[in-house]
Each structure stands twice: as C-alpha cells, then as structure tokens.
C-alpha cells in the first residue's frame, strides 16, 4: 500500500513563507465588516449592563481600530478575533439581545477573523509595514520584502468550503428543492400571506432552489481547482450580490466574497497587485499627467518605492 506523505506535506505547509499581501487585504476588509456589524451596537450609549460590558466594548472597538490601520497588527487582530468569537460563536450576541437564536453570519465572520489572526497581518498595507520600511531606510538597509508565514491561509479556504458544503447539505431535502422554503422566505420578506399561483413564479422558485444548492456544492469543491476558480467566483459573487440585495444578508455576503482570496496563491495575488499598481512614476510622468497648480508645481511625486 502506498504511503501517503502527509507528515512532510504538513511540515512543509507550516514552513511556508509567502507574500503577506492577501493577509493585509483580509485584515482591512474583515475589520471593516466587523466594525460595521458590531460597532454601533457596542457604543456605550447602547450598553445598559454590568461594567464588564463597557470594558468588552472598549477592548473590541479599540482592537478593531488597530486591526484596521495595522498598528501592532498581529496582536490587534488576535484580540479582535477573540472578541468576535465571543460575540459570534460563543453567543454573546444572544446575551446582548442582538440575536435570538445565534447568527450564522456573525459566526462566519468571527471564524474568518480567528483564522486571519494566524496570518502575518501586519506584513502589508499597515502602519507596522510603514514603520518597518521607514526604519530600514533610515538605517540604510534594504527594504525588507513582504514575506511571512502564510501556512494558515488554506484553513480560511477550508472554512469557506465548509460553509458552502454544509449550507448545501442542510438544504438537500425535498421541501427545499421543491421550493417550499424559498416561498416561505419570499412571503415573509415581500409577498405577505398570498403566494402567486402563476406558473412562471413556480418555475423561478424551483430553478432558484435547485440552482442555489448545486451552486453551493460547486463552490465548496470547485474553488480548490484552478480550472474552475474564476467562473465559480463570478457565479459566487452574483449569488451573494443577489442575497445582499434581496434577503438582507450583508456582512455574510461580503465575508464570503473577500475570503475567495484564500484560494489563490499569495504570490499570484502579490504579482497581480504589482501589475495593478504599475511602475513608480518619474517626475517627468507626473509633469505630463498632473495639472500644474501653484502648490504642486516643481514638487516631485511621493516616493512609492516598494520591495
């Protein structure tokens, strides 16, 4: 029997050093989503309980701010993730009365943040990085590359796959596939207590129900394969845009879409961002493209040199 090389593969994954740019992007977007989701509710004017709630609010919001700007980013991301897990997974949202029966959307965001906390989140697009580059330049050293241990990125991809797979699995019953559950959701959201009897409506519901389950299974498995990745990402974004627009699924949709980045090789993301940024403009380029103002005339463009 052929022996699987799981242990060497696992050790190689733990030693993986790669571009930290995906971690930086995830850090910024997930902290923004968490602030949008919980920021207002954690405002002190919304808290009426014991003193620890106020402390929890202060720690959560402060760590989210630090996570957003990337100052002491790993520590801030870790603390923010712990707070998010307490809210979304350990059901503090029930305690606060924000949710009555847990929220899978908040749990998805919290688990994603916890996994991102395992990445070197301060390595790119952060104050930490800015300070590092400035210190290196002051000391006359070369700017350190944006590299860090990215071993945990596939775990985030696994999280996305699990959410889709089990989301599809719990819908894989006759009642959902026939459209009954979608009809109930649409009635609750839009239609009131009269269901349209038109055939086109029934067909639309049937196609949506079967299509959503097929798409969830496809996303769960297909995103791991380079060949299917881009078409599935396009379908996934359209799917989440439709949910965002019609079913008030806000942070969940955004969380899933940004986590698609975990399926890409970090160096591919890095190179693509380099391609988007383009070369550093010279003073001559700036003179051609920038209209001359009294303030900017003769001033060279900002130094955008990167490693």
């Amino acid at each position: 029997m052929k022996r699987l090389d799981l242990v060497p593969r696992f050790q190689a994954q733990l030693r993986l050093q790669s571009s930290t740019r995906p971690a930086g992007i995830l850090r910024i977007v997930l902290s923004s989503l968490a602030m949008a989701k919980w920021g207002r509710r954690l405002g002190w004017d919304h808290l009426h309980g014991p003193l620890w709630e106020w402390g929890f609010s202060l720690v959560t919001l402060t760590s989210l701010c630090f996570m957003l700007v990337g100052y002491r980013a790993r520590l801030a991301t870790g603390v923010a993730a712990a707070c998010a897990v307490a809210i979304g997974v350990y059901d503090l949202n029930n305690y606060f009365g924000w949710e009555t029966n847990g929220s899978h959307h908040e749990a998805t965001l919290a688990v994603a943040m916890a996994l991102v906390a395992l990445l070197p989140t301060g390595g790119s697009y952060s104050i930490d990085r800015w300070l590092l580059v400035r210190r290196a330049q002051q000391e006359g050293r070369p700017v350190p590359p944006e590299i860090g241990p990215m071993w945990a990125l596939p775990l985030l991809a696994l999280h996305v796959s699990a959410v889709y797979f089990y989301g599809g699995m719990v819908k894989s019953h006759f009642g959902y596939l026939r459209g009954d559950r979608l009809e109930q959701i649409l009635m609750n959201k839009y239609l009131g207590s009269v269901l349209p009897r038109a055939m086109w409506f029934k067909v639309l519901i049937l196609v949506s129900a079967v299509g959503s389950v097929v798409l969830e299974y496809s996303l769960a498995i297909g995103l791991w394969f380079r060949r299917f990745r881009w078409p599935l990402i396009a379908l996934g974004v359209i799917f989440h845009a439709a949910l965002y627009l019609t079913l008030t699924v806000y942070t969940f949709s955004m969380t899933m879409c940004i986590c698609y980045i975990a399926f890409f090789d970090p160096w591919d993301v890095h190179r693509e961002l380099d391609r988007l940024h383009g070369p550093v403009p010279t003073p001559a380029d700036a003179a051609v493209t920038t209209p001359s103002t009294p303030e900017s005339a003769g001033r060279p463009p900002a130094d955008q040199s990167r490693a």
Partner: protein
C-alpha cells in the same frame, strides 16, 4: 490539523450525532427558521357546494383592514381566522372559508381544507376548531 478537522468535521458531528447545542460545534444551517411560520391562505365565499375565491388582499386594501397589504403576514391559524371574520364583516357574507397551509422548517403543512365557516367558527389555541 486539529483546526482543519474542527472546521471540516464539527458541523457534520452536529448534523449526524445531534449533540446538545454547543457554541464550539460549528453550524452552517443558514435561514433555517426564516419565514417558517408563514401561512399561505386562500379565502373563498361558499354558496352551498360552490366556492368563489376572493382576492382578499384587494379587499384588505379597499376596506382598510390593514395598513399595508405587503406587510400583512398571517402567522398562525388564529390570525387566519381573525382575518376571515374581518372579511365576513367587510364583505357582508355569512360563509367564508379558507384553504390554509403553514410553513415549517422543511416544507408546507396543510392546516385547513376549507371545511370551517370562519364567520361562525373560533379556533382553539391549538389550531383546532371549536
């Protein structure tokens, strides 16, 4: 490895073994209960054995029985009967019946086949007729 196993397998543990609810066993059943209490209702005016379906949302709007027909959601047999009695008065009809099906976490369940005259019947709290 432990993290990967937790992410990949803990939801299946929840669905297969069905342990007591624990926050540490992940659960990705989205929209499980959303709208599952909705009732889909069709009201009829009964003339002997004949039934004439009412566009009851139009009646609700015309007679001002509810502030917005789009927001009118009947979520229990009691609410369906209450609306039935309002329709009896609004339309001045002595016999209005309803075919009712209400949601559950998986599918529709039939709750009334139009046998009860809502103008004279009051449902018990368990949904059965008196």
């Amino acid at each position: 490895m432990v993290l990967a196993a937790w992410l990949a397998l803990s939801p299946s543990y929840r669905y297969i073994v069905k342990p007591p609810k624990s926050p540490w066993i992940l659960d990705w059943a989205m929209f499980r209960g959303h709208g599952s209490d909705m009732c889909d209702v069709r009201y009829f005016i009964a003339h002997g054995d004949e039934r004439e379906e009412i566009d009851w949302m139009a009646v609700v709007e015309e007679k001002g029985l509810h502030r917005s027909k789009r927001r009118l959601r009947l979520r229990s047999i009691q609410e369906v009967h209450r609306m039935g009695r309002q329709l009896c008065v609004a339309l001045d009809e002595p016999d209005i019946r309803a075919k009712i099906r209400c949601g559950s976490s998986t599918t529709w369940r039939r709750r009334g086949k139009g046998k009860a005259n809502m103008c004279t019947t009051v449902p018990r709290p368990d949904g059965k007729r008196k």
